[in-house]
Amino acid sequence: MKRRDFMALALGAMPTLALGAMPTLARAGMARQEEPRRPRRPQRIVTLFQGATDTAVALGVVPVGVVLSWQDPPIYPYLRSALAQASLLGLETQPNLERIALLEPDLIVASRFRHQRIAPLLSALAPLTLLEDIYHYRYTLETMAQTLDRQARAESLQRVLASRMATLRARLQQRFGARWPLTVALLDIRAGEIRSYLAPSFGGSVLTQLGFRWPRQVEGHAGVLLRLGGVESLPAIDADVFFLLQPRDRPAREHYRRLRGHPLWQRLAAVRQGRVWQVDPVAWSLSGGILGVFGMLDDLDAWLDTTEASA
């Protein structure tokens, strides 16, 4: 190597050394943080996804900070009175970390699914419980009951839920007799597409527990939802009952209006038998927690009341 090249290299090394110092600084910065102490019964908790917020309220631990809701922001109407004092922490996908730090929580509940990237920062701020996913309400309930030390409360909630479900199952059986179990589809009609939530989804899992069956086309489908591009794929969602999330905006309502006029839609079993029931999207899809499940059961009771009255 020529000497000139060597000198150039040496000059080049200087800024590089400065940059090289950054990883060292980084390591020092990381070494300094120690695991914050985890209290046995956390009081000031922060919940970073909707299902955790719902579940915390159900367990009687009102969060001091929550993320914005997906619909009717800032907070779903059914949680508004409980969360009147809670701070808003921005979007579920990108919560405001400084606000979380300022709240000095003694527990943060987040999900690996959404917050894996910021998990190291979160756990530097407060003890962190990272749930694997966000839509298994029972798993959320059990995990949170354990970290919050509210197992008794969780068990009584599960008991109430089980007995309500048993009542509803019996009622469904009685109402539909030999035709029971009915096949079901949980639909979300949006401006540009139709979504069909399947058995593994939040709403779908509750319907399965109630004894509803899924059409053969989607039975055993691993995904949470099916997206239909156009009317031609409508037969793929054919079922005895449609629970339809209330279209949330004008384009979606317009889409639904057009769909109802379409012959392929009119040939679907649920439509022919007049069993399309609009339900609250917050309870049926967005809440992700056990309070949302109770909301679903209320809706189903109301639906049965109506069908029985008309029968």
Binding site: L9, P15, G29, L125
Partner: protein
């Protein structure tokens, strides 16, 4: 060149444009001010004494905000901007085209395709930790593909640009397809990535990006002279003894690597790579080491300012810096161009 002086160290000598470097230092001071502002401002309002105390005690609550939240993310923004600006400067030299940027060669599109694909198909099982690798890989693959397609016993800038734009368009289509067909939940994080954001940057991100940037700089250093000659006509360059094809390939790969690592951690905010070199050129006419340094400083300053704006302007929302790179960068850029036109 009355403002240039010669620096001699034994047999090593360099022409140093002192005036130009003074301007670079001035720009650096502005960037340091932005850094200070990024550290001082935020959701948690700290008084000056509180702030100083927090600076000294990284373990306190306020110290945590400074040392774990504000500083790493600001540095990450600075590094992303610096790498993109350097990449853009190199490409504009090599392509002899003021509109060249990491976008033009398909770097961003390649990174985006693989990053979004990773989010859609792998993130659920593997976690998001390897996403930077996917993005960097995508960037490099895209550039290699462009070079391969444009190679006909050598490349010309025009062929490269055309191939790059073509491949970018193709890859954008693939990205859109993946976005449309992937579950709704990944779509959200993908959009944030596509806008470009240093949200949630931590020290390990900073360390990795700094190390990669450092390696790229070391590799680049001996070849900067050739980058300065790149705008010359091929025949002329050959005449003064430049290995044109070899140099071009090397510099393009370096630029792609720089943009790739920047995009890997900062998301697709390649606009910095287009604008920062122009701003640097307006501030410093003479191409040279000082102009490169200026581009790097401007790029770092732009992303830092954009991230600060994203953090402060719409609380409690923490918006992606990429939004504000465009929102702040474009008027500044247009202003400079108009001033020059007059």
């Amino acid at each position: 060149m009355g403002e240039a002086r010669v620096l001699r160290l034994g047999r090593f000598s360099r022409v140093v444009a002192w005036r130009a470097w003074c301007r670079v230092v001035a720009a650096l001071l502005v960037v340091l001010l932005i850094l200070l502002a990024s550290l001082a401002l935020g959701e948690a309002a700290l008084s000056a004494p509180q702030w100083l105390a927090a600076l000294r005690s990284p373990d306190s609550g306020a110290g945590l905000i400074l040392w774990q939240l504000r500083l790493p993310r600001t540095l990450l923004g600075a590094l992303v901007g610096a790498a993109l600006a350097l990449s853009g400067w190199l490409l504009q030299q090599v392509m002899r085209n003021p509109l060249a940027s990491p976008d033009t060669l398909g770097v961003t599109a390649g990174a985006a395709t693989l990053a979004v694909g990773y989010l859609a198909f792998l993130a659920a099982d593997v976690g998001t930790a390897w996403m930077p690798l996917a993005a960097a890989l995508g960037a490099l693959l895209a550039v290699l593909l462009v070079m391969l397609a444009a190679w006909r016993g050598g490349t010309t800038p025009l062929r490269l640009v055309l191939m790059g734009i073509g491949l970018s368009t193709l890859l954008s289509a693939v990205t859109t397809f993946v976005l449309v067909s992937s579950p709704l939940t990944t779509t959200l994080s993908a959009y944030v990535w596509l806008t470009g954001s240093v949200y949630g940057g931590n020290w390990s991100d900073v360390g990795w990006l700094a190390a990669c940037f450092g390696v790229a700089l070391v590799v680049l250093m001996p070849w900067v002279r050739l980058a300065l000659l790149a705008p010359l006509d091929d025949g002329l360059a050959v005449g003064i003894g430049v290995r044109v094809q070899w140099t071009r390939t090397l510099l393009i790969l370096l630029a792609a690597g720089l943009a790739g690592i920047a995009v890997a951690w900062g998301g697709a905010m390649a606009f910095v790579g287009l604008v920062a070199p122009h701003v640097a050129r307006r501030l410093l006419r003479q191409p040279g080491a000082a102009q490169i340094a200026m581009a790097v400083v401007v790029g770092a300053g732009m992303t830092m300012a954009a991230d600060l704006a994203g953090r402060l302007l719409f609380p409690p929302l923490d918006l992606p810096a990429g939004l504000f790179v465009a929102a702040i960068g474009t008027p500044f850029f247009l202003g400079l161009m108009m001033k020059q036109a007059r």
